[in-house]
């Protein structure tokens, strides 16, 4: 059986005639879009340290665990967090730096792990592309150090390593940093949650129930 494209021409015709009196020439479209007034706050005004403090406050507000460390302390800090979790088997994206995989734990490097293999992991360690302080958001572009989407989804425990220079204050600052929109983006603001039963916020439904962040100062 073949699947039809449906009524493409019919629908587009209806749209074109419905907007005939207001639609711009294709050539002017970009210009018109660029002319939309954007008087909202695009760039934050906080100092570097206040920005980091805001991110940490917002992440903790979502029940995420946040630890700060210096670059040279990173491997020890990762090891300490993994130990403290009481977990043993961790997934790692294919491009995770070797220094981020301390010994003493069982590491499963993702080179095409099956869903079932990922499902039984105790946790996962990844990098990130950016973080937005204002909303406490971690942004993954699913680069080799951030891993496939499934890797940060099925395990119940996620440790995300973030460099201080990856932190921006506002969401528009994140968008200003992205030159070429990636094919995959996941914005994570705290662990999964629901308020579907009597609006009571319950942490942890289907995604990782534990979000941990190490903020690395250069």
């Amino acid at each position: 059986m073949s699947v039809t494209q449906g009524s493409r021409a019919k629908v587009l015709d209806r749209i074109r005639s419905a907007t005939a009196s207001v639609a711009a020439d294709a050539a002017n479209l970009h210009e018109l879009h660029a002319a939309i007034p954007r008087s909202y706050i695009r760039k934050g005004e906080l100092s570097e340290s206040a920005k980091i403090a805001l991110l940490i406050e917002r992440l903790r507000d979502y029940d995420a665990d946040v630890v700060e460390c210096k670059l040279e302390e990173l491997p020890d800090t990762i090891a300490a967090m993994l130990s403290a979790s009481g977990r043993h088997t961790f997934g790692a994206p294919s491009g995770l730096p070797a220094a981020w995989m301390p010994s003493g734990f069982d590491w499963k490097l993702d080179g095409g792990l099956t869903h079932e293999q990922i499902e039984v992991l105790d946790g996962v360690v990844t990098g990130a592309s950016c973080a937005v302080a204002d909303s406490g958001t971690i942004v993954l572009h699913h680069t080799p150090s951030e891993g496939r989407r499934v890797l940060t989804l099925l395990p119940d425990w996620h440790l995300c390593i973030l460099y201080a220079d990856q932190v921006v204050e506002t969401l528009p600052e994140y968008f200003a940093r992205v030159q070429h929109p990636p094919a995959l983006v996941t914005w994570i603001s705290g662990p999964s949650a629901t308020a579907d039963i009597e609006m009571t916020r319950i942490k942890g439904v289907h995604g990782p129930r534990h979000l941990n962040v190490i903020l690395v100062h250069h």
């Binding site: 009524s7 629908v11 209806r14 749209i15 879009h33 994140y174 999964s192």
Partner: protein, 493 residues
């Protein structure tokens, strides 16, 4: 459950008029309590977080401008989306109406030999009544959003577009889960109930290879689709299956990736009173080695293009389905969602549903409002809902102009008589005097009419009417003591 006795009908072609459909809720104190509690919680959270955002009004303006720009140039942006999505490995289909959309989705599932499908909450699928159709065609449908599971397992209907099960309280949820999951030991603690849903769905996410989603936004520039959610069930459906079908209204497009900096900020705060929802996913077409390798987008018209053609009504399509208007509405607060006879309740439903029905059904909905304007004030894309409500009311009246039955309608007859009397001064004065005598029979000592017989009772059953004054303005004017023009000039300023 007490409110299951009269099962609500959310099909605008079959639903009772709003005043009648609202009665079961108005008579159910538990249901009203559940709705009021949920609305209070959302409103408090939203209020706090909107106040925190010093550039909220600027964000609203930009969001409204972006949406207006898209709608005015929808043809160009949809074609751009189609081209980019296809280039990224997706398949784009256009459905003229609900029946065609359902058939396209079924055909895709049949091609995959799918006997089951998992779903992310999508109002659009409710609009086209997709679930009953798929089930009748032999495809098992599993909703994965917690609220949607509650509704599906409890055979309930959604009453809100963001928190669809807000009319059901924890003990009712416990009852539904205990029975349908075979777990009589479950407590009514929301934590335990949420855990039960997690366990119930885990295998389904891993085993069922086809999924259906809606879309919060379509990005024309990249051919990308955006899903905004909280629980992670969305990410599961977008990531684990082999086949993914996204059903989206044609109006969901935004021009560029960077427009999301506005649209994401206004959506989370308006919808759930959060700075940002826990998970937002964006994907463009197919990514080798990551997620579904067979990806389809079904773009749904279903009367949207007819709304697009009307300059004033066009703004209806700016809607981003945040439900801020629903939460702010004093009418919704009293009636809950089922009275609207559609999956889209509240003020947005009152303007959207009749228009999606091309004014052939749901004509009572434009009247399901006090026109207080609270919806317009909170709308993150500045849809002037009261203005559209009034316009739709005019359209409903225009329809009735050609209806023979109107001669038996007391309202119509009353207005015709009033029109005749009010356009002739001597008849108007006579009517005033007669009215004073007539109304005097019903006027209480406190100067108010508390109850009237017959048609007048329609007014007084829900509110009092001021009695007639002892003299009209004209009578007072004629009887006032005469004053000379010089006296008037000397009046103190």
């Amino acid at each position: 459950m007490s409110h299951s006795v009269e099962h609500p009908i959310l099909d605008p072609t079959l639903a009772a008029p709003f005043p009648k459909a609202a009665l079961p809720v108005l008579r159910d104190p538990q249901l009203r309590k559940n709705v009021a509690h949920a609305i209070d919680v959302i409103q408090t959270k939203r209020g706090k977080l909107v106040a925190e955002k010093t550039d909220w009004q600027e964000l609203r303006s930009a969001a409204a401008d972006i949406r207006t720009h898209v709608l005015e140039n929808l043809g160009a942006y949809l074609e751009q989306f189609e081209e980019r999505c296809t280039a990224a490995g997706g398949h784009v289909h256009c459905a003229s109406d609900a029946a065609e959309a359902r058939q396209i989705i079924l055909d895709i599932l049949r091609e995959e030999n799918a006997s089951e499908v998992i779903k992310i909450k999508t109002m659009t699928s409710g609009e086209i009544q997709l679930n009953p159709f798929l089930q009748a065609s032999g495809v098992g449908v599993f909703e994965t959003d917690l609220a949607e599971i509650i509704l599906q397992l409890g055979n309930e209907e959604p009453s809100h577009i963001v928190v669809p099960a807000l009319h059901i309280n924890r003990s009712q949820v416990r009852e539904i889960f205990a029975k349908s999951m075979g777990r009589p030991e479950l407590s009514d603690d929301p934590q335990a109930l949420t855990e039960a849903a997690r366990i119930y769905l885990r295998r389904k996410f891993l085993d069922i290879p086809s999924a259906i989603s809606g879309a919060n936004y379509l990005v024309a520039e990249t051919g990308g689709v955006v899903i905004v959610e909280s629980e992670g069930n969305g990410r599961m459906c977008l990531t684990l299956p082999k086949t993914l079908i996204t059903l989206a209204g044609i109006e969901k497009v935004v021009p560029r990736f960077e427009d999301l900096e506005v649209m994401l900020q206004v959506l989370a705060r308006s919808a759930t009173g959060e700075r940002m929802n826990p998970y937002t996913s964006l994907w463009s077409g197919v990514t080798p080695g990551d997620g579904p390798q067979n990806f389809h987008v079904v773009l749904l018209d279903n009367a949207r293009s007819s709304i697009l053609g009307k300059p004033r009504e066009r703004q209806t399509l700016r809607c981003i389905r945040c439900a801020a208007c629903i939460n702010a509405c004093p009418v919704y607060r009293q009636t809950g969602g089922h009275a609207y006879g559609s999956v889209y309740p509240g003020p947005i439903g009152a303007i959207l549903t009749p228009q999606l029905m091309q004014m052939r059904h749901a004509q009572s909905l434009p009247y399901a409002s006090s026109l207080c304007g609270a919806c317009y004030e909170v709308c993150p894309v500045k849809i002037n809902i009261p203005e559209i409500l009034i316009d739709l009311r005019a359209q409903v009246i225009d329809q009735q102009r050609h209806n023979i039955g109107r001669f038996f309608d007391p309202l119509y007859l009353g207005l015709r008589i009033a029109g005749f009397l009010f356009s002739r001064a001597f008849l108007f004065h006579a009517a005033q005097r007669l009215g004073r005598v007539g109304a005097g029979l019903f006027t209480h000592k406190d100067g108010w009419i508390h109850s009237m017989p017959s048609v007048g009772g329609k007014w007084t059953q829900t509110r009092d009417l001021r009695g007639f004054p002892n003299q009209t303005f004209r009578e007072w004017w004629q009887n006032r003591p005469a004053r000379s023009s010089t006296q008037i000039a000397k009046e103190p300023k």
